[in-house]
């Protein structure tokens, strides 16, 4: 699925990466625990999280994660946006809960890691 399609089914706001909405996503992982995200071996994972701070973006940067959905109305601060742009990370804000976000994406065919 493309980022544009994901944004549509999640009714999400794309905050950064408007120029890369054709980016393809096949697998996703949901966690608020950054030390858990850092154990993933896969590249190009979509991260769904309710943890919105600078370390979420740093974790994505180190883990080669290029796309993040912040669930449950968590807001992306200007500092987070800057870090996302610097590292070419696509960031979306979504009002659905982590559970609902995952359910929609799973149903749409996005694969889990484990």
């Amino acid at each position: 699925m493309t980022v544009a399609e994901i944004a549509t089914i999640l009714d999400a706001n794309i905050i950064t990466g408007h120029d890369r909405t054709d980016h393809l996503i096949e697998i996703a992982f949901a966690s608020d625990l950054m030390s858990d995200v850092l154990t993933l071996k896969n590249d190009n994972v979509l991260l769904i999280t309710g943890l919105a701070n600078l370390q979420t973006l740093r974790t994505a940067e180190m883990s080669d994660i290029h796309c993040i959905v912040f669930a449950r109305n968590k807001k992306v601060t200007p500092e987070m946006q800057e870090l996302a742009e610097e590292n070419d990370i696509i960031v979306m804000e979504c009002r659905y809960s982590v559970f609902r976000t995952c359910g929609i994406l799973y149903q749409a065919g996005i694969s889990p890691i484990f």
Partner: protein, 138 residues
Amino acid sequence: MHFEYQIEGGNFTRAGFASSEIKKMLKQLNVDLAIIKRTVVATYEAEVNVVAHAYSGTIYVDVDEKKIIIKLVDEGPGIPDIEQAMKEGYSTASSRVREMGFGAGMGLPNMKKNADDLKISSEVGKGTTVEIRMRFSS
């Protein structure tokens, strides 16, 4: 080449800055992407540990075309039992650290998995030294 970075204990805004610089440098050196990821994940875990558990620290980086050695030296409480600290799930992280998304007790075991070679030494009441070594040819 030799680089040094300072780490401020408790400063979660800056945590990851050094790891980010190291990542950019390794990309410029055209190091294999899988090796870069293992290097920066281990370094970032170590950097966050200094921010989360120590008072201040310095990262010393030595890199050539074959390898990189990253040494993190901190002033802090030290680790009384390194073997115990290496166990998955062991953590003394504060609630503030947990709110930042850390404190699962997975950092040290993950560093061990990612680094080609990991050395940890610590003196209680003084500080901890972590050395990560990576070879660029697989």
